[in-house]
Every structure is written in C-alpha cells, then in structure tokens.
C-alpha cells in the first residue's frame, strides 16, 4: 500500500486504518509536507517538514547565513525524512558529524497512527528519553518522521579544498598520518581513486584567517593542488547505493588494499569506504535481538518496512 497524505492528520488516519487491517505499507510520499515551518536564526534552530528536499531547506537557511552541515549525495532529491531514515552523510562528516548530532526534536507518526513529538526546539534538553535517536537510520521501520527540528551552524566565511595525487597507497597512508599528527583541523579528509590515481583531499572551513593558515600548513605537507568535491558527486551520480566498508580509521589503507582496484571514495577520518567491489561486505556484530524487540514494540503488526542490514 502506497500512502500519499496531504497532512499529518491524514497520514495518522491512513496508518491507523492500515494497522487495523494489518496492511503492509510499501511507501510513504510526503511531497505535500515540504515547508520550512520556522527558522530562528537568532537561536540557530529550524523546524522543517520531512518532505522538503535538503537543497530547498539549505537554500532557505542560507538566506540568513546558516546551514545544516550535512552533505549527503543527491541533495536535490533527498528529502529530510529520507536523510533521517537513512542517516546519510557526505565528505564533511569528519568536520561536522552526522544528522543525529543536529537533530533536537521531531514529530513522527507511529505504525498505529499515533503522533509523537520527542525532543523539542531548544539546543539543550534532557527531558525524557532521547527517543528521536531510534528514528535516525531506522529506515522508516518504526514510524514515519513528519517534522524535524535541527540546530544549525553559521555558514563559514570561507571553504576551500586541496588535494594531492598519490602514486601508491603507502604514500597516501604516510600523508594521512602526517595530517592527523599536524595542527590541521580539516572538515574533509578523503581518499578516492575516481580519477584513476589515488587522490587525497582536504577541506578547510572557517574564517578567512583560519583557512589561509591551514592552506599554508597543508601545502608544506605537499597537499596544495586546488580541488573540489566533484569526485564525490560524480561517484554518486552513477549509483544510488554503493557497498560500504566500515573499519577502525587507522585500518583504512589496509581495507582499501583489499578492494582489488575497484572504484572507491573513503572517509579516512571516519573509517568508512564506499566502493564498487562486489565481494560481500563483512557483517558487523550487532544486537539483532534488541533490534527485533524494538521493531515488535513500535510496529507490532509489522506493517512498516523491515530494517535491512
């Protein structure tokens, strides 16, 4: 059953009805819920409906000098709801973290149609459990997020990217260690091979002075060729999903070595590699029985999609 509600109340009714009948929900289209409800620049917070695309949201925030510092692939089509349910991230993750770090409140409709509103609109709040967290990366399996409130960041005065082409992974590995040992505070720390050779990419953001100082330091380490994040966009233009390997950050070179030359983009600082290699990724050791209990509690009739790992 596909749902396309015009309002939250309508979604609530549709879900309650489907739940009573035990009808499975295959998709929920929230295109009608696509507005910024509130952007309080003086509080650095904003509340947005889940059907709005990330690009549209960022465009509104930018008018008042702020942004949500999360940069996942396909922002033109990715909705806030999908960003939350997939917990997507991009190259700036090293500097800014993930969407859960910015989420301070939400509204969600549970499988039986009940509307809940965990969290709030203030940046610091420990009243009640941090219930919003289970919906981040929850793939819509526990409920449908319809609204979210985020804390924001000011747009940096300047943001610049530089890269160095490396002849070998060993060279890249040495460079990574040098950058991590230095005083640099990059927001992007990526390694990729999408242009044929290995490219090590650094991104700096902040005041003009901070960025200029870091460009000097990076240049001294040999990372000075002007760059952009086009490699990441292009990598994702060719696909909507990729295989992912997640390792201890210090094992990133070793993990890349195991990819047999497949195309990859690696978040070096986070230990995450997106790649083309078809070998099955290693399953992480997860508390699956707890996942099951959570699903059974919030969606006892299993009408919402199952979590896929």
């Amino acid at each position: 059953m596909e749902l396309k509600p015009n309002t939250i109340a309508e979604l609530s009714e549709l879900l309650a009805c489907a739940n009573t009948r035990g009808e499975k929900i295959s998709s929920v289209d929230l295109a009608a819920l696509n507005r910024v409800l509130e952007h309080k620049a003086e509080d650095m917070t904003a509340t947005v409906e889940a059907g709005m695309t990330l690009v549209a949201f960022q465009n509104e925030l930018r008018q008042r000098g702020q942004w949500l510092p999360i940069d996942p692939p396909h922002p033109e089509t990715l909705t806030i709801g999908n960003l939350l349910s997939a917990n997507s991230s991009g190259p700036r993750r090293f500097g800014y973290g993930t969407i859960g770090d910015y989420l301070i409140g939400m509204k969600a409709v549970l499988a039986d149609g009940r509307l809940i509103a965990p969290g709030g609109k203030v940046v610091k709040n420990v009243a009640g459990y941090d219930l919003a967290k289970i919906f981040v990366g929850g793939q819509g399996s526990l409920g449908v997020v319809v609204e979210a409130t985020f804390k924001l960041r000011p747009l940096p005065e300047r943001e610049t990217f530089v890269q160095k082409k490396c002849n070998s992974l060993a060279e890249a590995g040495t460079l990574i260690e040098a950058v991590l040992d230095s005083e640099l505070t990059p927001v992007v720390l990526d390694l990729h091979n999408t242009s044929g050779s290995y490219s090590f990419v650094l991104g700096f953001a902040g005041t003009n002075e901070e960025v200029a100082w870091q460009l000097d330091k990076a240049s001294a380490l040999g990372v000075k060729e002007p760059a952009s994040l086009d490699y990441d966009r292009e990598f994702w233009l060719q696909r909507t999903t990729a295989n992912k390997i997640a390792v201890l950050p210090s094992k990133i070179i070793e993990a890349v070595q195991g990819l047999n030359g497949a195309s990859f983009v690696a978040r070096v600082g986070n230990g995450v590699i997106f790649h083309n290699d078809t070998t099955a990724p290693k399953k992480a050791d997860l508390p699956l029985h707890l996942f099951q209990r959570l699903k059974d509690e919030y969606d006892p009739k299993h009408i919402l999609p199952e979590l896929t790992l």
Partner: protein
Amino acid sequence: MHPEGKTSLSPRIVDAFMAIVGKENVVYGEQELLVYECDAYTLEKNLPNVVLLPRSTDQISQVVKICAQEKLPIIPRGAGTSLSGSVLAVTGGVMICLSRMNRVLDIDFRNRRALVEAGCVNAWVTNAAKQKGFLYAPDPSSQSACTIGGNVAMNSGGPHTLKRGVTTNHVLGFEIVFPDGEIVWLGTRPDGSEDVPGYDLRGAVIGCEGMFGIVTRVLVKLIKAPQAYKTLLGIFESVDEASQTVSDIIAAGIVPGAMEMMDQMITQAVEAAYHFGFPLDAGAVLIVELDGLAAGLDKQADRVVEICKKNKAREVRIAKSEQERMDLWKSRKRAFGAIGRLSPNFLTQDGVVPRSQLPEIMRFIRQTSDKYGLRIPNVFHAGDGNIHPLILYDERDPQQVKNAVAAGNDILERCIELGGSATGEHGIGVEKIDFMAKQFSKETLDAMKMLRRVFDPETRCNPHKMFPGSKRCGDFAGKKQISA
C-alpha cells in the same frame, strides 16, 4: 515488596551478593547506608536496602541476575552528583555503585578514542589525554567528581557544549548490563568503525537516567585540544544587556566554545569566596570563550568586544595567561559552592529557553523572586539558553521550603511556555516528574515507555522515576538536609 511498597531483602540474598563481590564491597546497615540516601537533590531521601561496589562487569551481571530472580529493584549509581534525585532508591532496592570500576583502560590516540570504566571520573579522561594534546569535550561543573557512566545516564552537558555538543555527541559506544543480566555492547566497539548499522540503541540509551541498565565500560571520543583560547569577561550594568550580547554574538555567526553568565548576586558570592577580581557592583558578567586555531582568533575577539561595547558593557577584560583563564573557569565552575555564603539551603533549577528568550526568562525570575520573597541568583550556560536559577531558602522555615519549590515550578513552567524545556542537563529524576506531562503529550510519553519496555520490561531498573504517576518518597523536605 511489602504493603508500603518498601523492598525487603533477606540475609540469604545479602550473603549471595557477598559471595559475588566480596564482603568488603557490600554496604549494609543503616548508618553506612546514609551516604546513599540521596544525590545532590536533597528534598527527598530514602535508603537502599544494600549498596554493592562491584569490580567487574561480570560481577555486576551475576548480581543483576539474582535481582532478576528475586524481583528486586536495581539502582545504578556513579558519584551521586546528579541534581534531580535520579539515583534515589524510592522504594529501597539494590544500589549498584560503580565507584570501584574507575580506570582509564586504554587510550587510542591515533583513532581519537578512550576506553574507560563507567566509574571513571570525567576529568580523569582529559587528564590522561592532555599530554598528547587531546581532551574529552563534555565538562560538567562537577567534572572533578562525576563519572562517565553517570554522564552517559544523564546525557550531561557543561559550559563547553555550546560549540561541541553534549555527552551523546561524544560517546561512541558502551557495554551495558541489562536488568536480566545480559551483557551487550552498543554502538562503536573499541576496535570498530564509528559507522554502526541498524538502530542507534547507543543514542537511545544515553540520557535514560539509568532506567535501561547499568553501563559498565564506555568508549569516548577524544578531540584535539584547541590550539588557542581567547577568554573574555564582559562586565555589564544589567542581565538584559548581557543577554542581548549573547544573542548578538550568535547572530554575528560566531560560535564561541562557551558563553556563561553570572548575575550580580552570584558574582558577589563568587568574589567573596575566590577573590578573582569580579566587580561587586556589576549587574552581570559574561564569560565568552573563543577557541580554535590561533589564526584569526584575535579578529574574532575584537568583534566580540565590539558587540559587548555596543550593548553598553562597562568593561571587557581578556584573560592574559592560561593561569588567568583557569582561575576564571574555576570561579565559574565553583559558583554553586559559593552559595553556601548566601543561604543555608538552595534549590537549583535547570530550565532551558530559546536563546532569544533569555531576557524574558530573566525578567520572569526577578518577578518570581519578588512574588515569593526569596532571593534567586543566576549562573548559567547563556549560549545554550540553559538557565540555573538558584532559589535560596532556609529549611528551618517550612513556608520558605514550600515557596522555594513553588518558585522553581513557576520558573520551569514559564520555560516550557517560552518553547523550552524543564531540564537542560540535570534530568527529570524524581524532582521534575510533574513537568513531563506539561512538556510531552500522552502519546509521546507512551512511546517513551515503549522504549523502556525494550530494555527493561519489568521496570525494575531505577524505578519510580521520570514518568507521571510514579511513587514518591513519603519523606519530603528532609530531616538531615545539608547545605550543598
């Protein structure tokens, strides 16, 4: 439990506990148990039946299994510095105190993480990491005593959360013993990636106020210590002008590491206690700490000075040395301690408002102070909109005790009306139970209870907390109240 709801414990079970943790790690007997009758919220007190001081996760699991068999309440406890009765043994029960599991187990500088036992004191983590230029960011004012496990339970904050976030943003994963005795690791493992697929159970447990299980080992994120600090002290004629300065700094696109305010009454008390050199006649002082790379920090500091001046700051001082900076922070973090000079007792509140509503809530607190005839000094995390009004009263006057509680309630209700929260970092505990229904719908509260059922279906772990309708201690307004 017998009819009054008090837990009873047979000697046979105490013997079983002794066999697991060792006789010397069992506190049993009314006099010895007094230390554990409350946390820093002293208006409600009750004794646990027994306190256990285990030394390993395995011991905790064994003890918890016995509690499960015997249907005994379990109350996890760190250092007991919480401020809302979160570790109160409402109906007695088995208190499991993590204070003897307090080691920093491993620091992995390359991967910027540290593995510690849950009873490890917050400040010890940074102490262990700082020689290599790293620190653990969340810094509650009680950081020299409070434990990392307690921080996980409460999702603790501190002055420096404005830029860097709170505990949940800095804890990668942890080991937890659930109320049935099962030991599970949630989130990132010590040798694993920060990217963990599936539901964020780590995030769901952080801030559960010890109601889901007992956290035993914690993997925390370390961050590079800032290359430079600029710590400014703005001296203002009024709290309004200082509050406006906070809003203007944020509006200018500057995110300081911390922005802390102290009003006149607190400033005077702190000055009397620590002699930092605060002016006694200023309406408010604002501490603004900028941190990051040294490059450009001076220019940012100049802008902050400019914004302070625009809001009629009488004077803006800049800490000239690391020692001066440390002294300033020491004064701020010990502000609560200085209150002993003003009043035999005080009640700390912990409301939050949107930053832009700070002037409004400060006006309201002044009115409330007049209404109840109680002095209410303020020291708070202005940058986060997290206020800490300290309601001064004398426990020997029952009317004052009543008024203090009423004043606190009025202020928190106003915070909620202004779009905020009844607690920014101290938690609900037993103290703020009545605010849950004011802040959340029944559906939302029910959804929170569903989360609890996932981890503790018998609601035996830290029971009678957080949710409206919970059992309260009969012993309200204490007999052995101490001035904190």
